[in-house]
Amino acid sequence: MSDYELIKESPLGGAEHEFDGVTVAEVIDQSLVMVALPRDRAVDIESAMGESCGLSIPAMGQSTKSSDASVTLWRLQKNQVLAYFSYDGDDAEVNLAERFDAPAYYTDQSDTWGMIRVSGERSRDVLERICPIDLDPSVFTLGSVSRTVMEHIGTIIFRDGDDSYVLLTMRSFSRSMLHAIEVSVKNVL
């Protein structure tokens, strides 16, 4: 038994703010793991993931869901996918590798990113002040994912609901991103 205990902390301390028409909340119950597809093994891996979780590798800029909807795969690069899944333990990499049972390279990214969900009927009005990509529901369809730059910050944006978007920025930028969203809310609502 160690004399010392480490206490975990999310990038924004679980921040959550409700506004008229928009909710801005840190996502703290999801993990993120990079799944790299070894050379010439993409078919094997897809087959294994399909068997274990009912997952297929999504098209670029799109996502797929496991049969129990607990794991979402995002495709932003040719030879890798990002797995976004419900898990808040410390061993997301191991946990996912066990779930997938596929011979990929797994790298935990859960602590790399701060995740903020912007949801509500005015979410797009708020986001259009910082997000250069087209969030029109017919263009950025449900499940779409894209990597872009918002307020000089490299950002991944994922549409996880009709009026709901998850923004991921490198953890150290989290406060700046939250501030950028809050300024947008203040300017718009």
Binding site: M1, S2, D3, Y4, E5, L6, I7, K8, E9, S10, M34, A36, L37, P38, R39, N79, Q80, D90, D91, Y105, T107, D108, Q109, S110, D111, T112, W113, E128, R129, C131, P132, I133, D134, D136, V139, E151, H152, I153, M170, R171, S172, F173, R175, S176, M177, H179, A180, V183, S184, K186, N187
Partner: protein, 982 residues
């Protein structure tokens, strides 16, 4: 009496009274007014003074082209100069002040310049203020600027806020007049996503100012209904009070949305929003701007565009005078007389320069055909006009129409060149507008309203169909055809009187003639010599008129004379709107380290390193100078243990079967055989053999390395690796991802570092010197099972480790390390102590890896592997990079140990003069060493590796320092590296 010029009707709400002030006088207007219409309603014709001659000036237009009615709006820090009254929506409490006069507006002391005007023609400054040369900057220019300026700045920070945003559409329609609305209707009905933007706060364009009938109703009513219909459509975004100001690459347009009314109600709301609009297509329906005719004294208050007289009459219910005359060269001017008659005003006279029959009957008006206005009278307000037939007419307003110029500016933003159209006597867009842009209506030169509506209707449908949307089957709105005939009239001989062309910069027809006579033939040269079109209005009312005058002067065609180049922005845009929300600390985002909160609690002093905020040092109570703190941090670390947050260093996880081969290709030294559990220092070169970055790579398993980079190059190294993989060796099985932020990483340095770590590392992980020797790396657990990575590497030269835990535990680990280290008097140290210790140890860093130094220059030539190929190998063998007399990195210590040594000092021979020819090198990094008790530095000197023991001078002429230094090894502390291995 209030609003003596106000009449009934108009598109304003006369039930809603608004109070405002002009030069301190309280006035009233109505909701829906502009500042200009409210001033005219209150009989305020004299509203400012001209730029150069301080001539009394009045409102000329009713739009964004206004050259005269530019005001200072607001007061204190909120004051905004050079605001056009003609596009400023009136609001309660608006404070407006005229500008550019000394003393009261009605008696400007600077008006004396007007009497000196014969001396002040074009090029006057260039010719007069030539001597003495040095006086221009010190005396002449400040004096001229002081007397001839526009508004004044508050010199306080602008308290208003600004924002920006991004919008996307299939079709952007610029201008919501009859053409734009018609285009929007058909395009929107097709299903395309539309943005309709208009600079006016009331959409409708000229329909709001004219009396045309469309589809059996007033044009303004048709516009209102059409706007309402479009507003109800989900695929349409209406952006009124939004001026598109530039056409940029790839179908991107800049637009500035004025939200002043919202901002006034809530000070926190942005005053303006700068939109970037991404389009697939754009239809320019920007209409046309009327132009003047150059005649003697054509600038008096009361002389205005004929179209503006109609706008104030029909839209704002303001009669600009009681005895109004019209001077025109086209049919459109006659409409003014017709509208005035219809409202019950008697028109004094209609003067048409054309030799044709009167266009219509104007009851009560004197009609003069083939006649010109040659002079006017009235200093502060127009009193009479003098005609070319010798007749004088008393009149208080002269409505002038010299024809219409299509607003084709955007078609030229990608270097389109307008063509001359003789039929309408105007320039029209050429056939090469920016990609994706088409033009319709008056902006294209289609001057007849009925034709413009059809053109807009068809364009909307065609462009939508081109994008794959269904073709609209609707019919265009109908309006009676009213013909437009014109005969160009650029001006009339004005004798000694000045005929004004550019009102805002006070340029006359004579100035243009003088420029032509003096050899300025190109329109671009004339522009710069006379300052024509260079004011805030960018010559919207002046340029074509000036080109006409030039063409006549030089006996050439309009097309041969040509136009100047149109560039964004179309209208003045506040710099604040471009800055948007990026002010002060929000200029760029801030990155916080995992230990930031803890460091803040310790009163750390922070330093910006790129976007990172890092702890620079941690002062203790009683420490009054940073050197005290840093010296303590260094001594304590070297004598016991210190902790530094090094999370900012780049960390890249690299996995795959070919990872060691990959690293072997990107590093200059060998990596193929690094054992699992070992770290190796790595030097990365650029293709040209120059050092790019250094760091370490630890082999965590057979197919897994963790690479570290410098903080500054974290992104560029990652990008370089991606390039190498994707472009050079795509067949290698290599997968990389940044884990810089995945792990909070702390350097634990000093002789007690192992003892400290042993208190938190779980007992099953043996970190003894034997089990975990220098350069070891491995996965461990800490504090009862938390996974961590441990690297036995040292930047300080001490026994040291870097420990990494998932960042969620970063703050906590810092607190635990400090608590566990209490018995060793552990201290945190910042980037300053980090720098001191690395220089004491002789490690190269940013100032040494400056993009000019090779591995050999840095003293790392021995690391270069000759047994493999790697990036930078071949070009690194170039003779020039192998020379012995290159600038080579060595250490420097003062001969007199009490001397101050400064980074940036240049190195000279002991008896050499401080000249460029004698320069032998420079000190790149320099510190005071609390361990050695004197200053020391590392730097570069010619052939330095073979000059150790030689004395030279380190000279800093800027700071007045000249000391003798000895060239030595850069490794000042523990050169044998014994401390690292204990």
């Amino acid at each position: 009496m209030s609003q003596i010029n106000r009449i009934d009707g108009g598109l304003i709400d006369q039930e809603k009274v608004l109070n405002f002030t002009f030069n301190g006088q309280i006035l009233k207007g109505y909701e829906g007014d502009t500042l200009a219409s409210a001033l005219l309603a209150n009989n305020k014709h004299l509203i400012g003074r001209s730029f150069k001659y301080h001539r009394p000036r009045g409102i000329v237009t009713a739009g964004s082209e206004e050259p005269n009615a530019i005001m200072e709006i607001g007061n204190g820090a909120y004051k905004e100069p050079n605001t056009r009254a003609t596009v400023t929506q009136l609001y309660n409490g608006l404070e407006a002040n005229s500008q550019n006069h000394k003393g009261p507006l009605s008696f400007d002391f600077m008006a004396i310049t007007d009497f000196l005007s014969p001396l002040l023609g074009a090029g006057f400054y260039y010719k007069t203020f030539m001597w003495p040369k040095g006086f221009w900057e010190k005396f002449y220019e400040p004096a001229i600027r002081k007397s001839a300026g526009l508004g004044t700045l508050s010199t306080e920070a602008d308290p208003d806020t600004y924002d920006k945003g991004f919008r996307h559409c299939d079709i952007l329609i610029i201008g919501a007049g009859a053409t734009g609305l018609s285009a929007a209707l058909t395009a929107a009905n097709s299903g395309a996503k539309i943005i309709l933007a208009d600079e006016d706060f009331l959409m409708g364009g000229r329909l709001n100012s004219e009396t045309n009938e469309i589809d059996g109703m007033a044009g303004s009513e048709w516009a209102k209904k059409t706007v309402a219909k479009l507003g109800a459509m989900e695929n349409v975004t209406l952006m009124s009070d939004t001026t598109v100001f530039g056409a940029y690459d790839h179908g991107i347009y800049g637009a500035i949305e004025n939200r002043a009314s919202e901002a006034r109600e809530d000070n926190d709301k942005p005053r303006q929003v700068n939109w970037r609009i991404y389009t697939k297509r754009a239809i320019l329906c920007a209409g046309a701007t009327e132009r003047l005719i150059a005649f003697g004294n054509n600038d008096r208050p009361g002389i205005m565009f004929a179209s503006a007289v109609r706008t104030y009459l029909n839209r704002f219910a303001v009669a600009t005078g009681q005895r109004i005359s019209v001077y025109t060269n086209n049919d459109d001017g006659w409409k003014t007389a017709k509208d005035l008659n219809a409202k019950g005003f008697r028109v004094a006279a209609v003067i048409d320069s054309r030799s044709i029959s009167p266009v219509m009957r104007v009851p009560g008006a004197e009609i003069y055909m083939a006649t010109d206005v040659v002079d006017t009278k009235g200093r502060r307000a127009l009193k009479s006009i003098q005609l070319s037939n010798g007749k004088s007419i008393d009149t208080d307003t002269l409505a002038v129409s010299g024809g219409w110029n299509p607003n084709l500016h955007f078609t030229c933003h990608h270097r389109g060149v307008p063509k001359w159209n003789e039929e309408i006597a105007s320039f029209v867009p050429d056939s090469s507008p920016p990609v994706g842009m088409s033009v319709a209506g008056r902006a294209k030169g289609t001057m007849v309203l009925a034709d413009a509506i059809i053109e807009g209707h068809n364009q909307g449908s065609c462009v939508a169909a081109d994008l794959g949307y269904k073709t609209s089957e609707s019919k265009p709105a109908s309006t009676p055809v009213v013909s437009y005939n014109i005969s160009a009239n650029w001006g009339v001989p004005s004798g000694k009187n000045r005929a004004w062309v550019d009102f805002q910069n006070d340029v006359t027809a004579k100035d243009i003639k003088l420029a032509n006579q003096e050899g300025f033939k190109s329109v671009e040269h004339v522009k710069r010599y006379t300052t024509l079109g260079m004011a805030t209005d960018q010559g919207k009312t002046a340029n074509v008129l000036a080109i006409g005058i030039m063409a006549e002067n030089m006996g050439q065609t309009m097309e041969d004379t040509g136009t100047t180049i149109f560039r964004p922005p179309y209208v003045p845009v506040a710099i604040g709107a471009f800055a948007g929300r990026r002010r002060g600390m929000e200029f760029y985002p801030t990155r916080y380290t995992p230990s930031h909160n803890w460091s803040t609690e310790q009163n750390a002093i922070f330093v910006e390193v790129g976007m990172w905020y890092r702890s620079q040092w941690f002062p203790l109570p009683g420490e009054t100078h940073w050197r005290q703190t840093v010296d303590r941090e260094v001594r304590q670390t070297r004598s016991s243990v210190g902790i530094c947050d090094v999370t900012t260093l780049g960390k890249i996880d690299i996995k795959g079967e070919d990872v060691s081969e990959f690293l072997n290709k990107v590093y200059a030294n060998a990596f193929a055989k690094v054992p699992v559990g070992k770290t190796r220092y790595g030097l990365m070169l650029r293709e040209d053999g120059i050092a790019m970055d250094d760091g370490t790579a630890a082999r965590m398993s057979e197919n897994h390395f963790v690479m570290t980079t410098t903080t500054a190059n974290a992104v560029s190294v990652y990008r370089h690796l991606q390039f190498c993989h994707q472009c050079l060796w795509p067949d290698l099985d290599v997968h990389m991802i940044s884990v810089t932020e995945q792990y909070a990483q702390y350097a634990v340095a000093g002789p007690n570092s192992r003892k400290l770590l042993e208190k938190i590392v779980d007992p099953e992980c043996d970190i003894s010197n034997e089990a975990f020797p220098y350069m070891a790396a491995g996965e461990i657990t800490v504090c009862g099972g938390t996974a961590a990575r441990l690297f036995r590497i040292s930047f300080s030269g001490e026994l040291a480790y870097e420990i990494a835990v998932p960042t969620r535990y970063g703050d906590s680990l810092m607190r635990v390390l400090m608590e566990a280290g209490e018995e060793f008097n552990v201290i945190p140290y910042g980037t300053e102590a980090l720098g001191v210790m690395r220089i004491e140890k002789g490690h190269a860093a940013g100032p040494e890896l400056n993009g000019q130094t090779s591995a050999y220059d840095l003293g790392m030539g021995g690391m270069i592997s000759g047994k493999k190929d790697f990036i930078g190998y071949t070009l690194g063998l170039r003779e020039e990079l192998q020379r012995d007399d290159r600038m080579q990195m060595v250490g420097f210590k003062p001969v007199n140990t009490s001397d101050l040594l400064l980074a940036g000092s240049h190195l000279l021979g002991l008896r050499d003069k401080a000249t460029t020819e004698n320069d032998q090198g420079w000190i790149s990094s320099c510190i005071y060493s609390p361990i050695l008790g004197h200053y020391l530095g590392i730097g570069f000197i010619k052939g330095g590796h073979n000059r150790k023991g030689e004395n030279v001078r380190a000279v800093d002429l800027v700071r007045g320092n000249d000391v003798e230094v000895e060239i030595c090894s850069p490794h000042f502390v523990d050169p044998e590296g014994e401390r690292l291995r204990v």
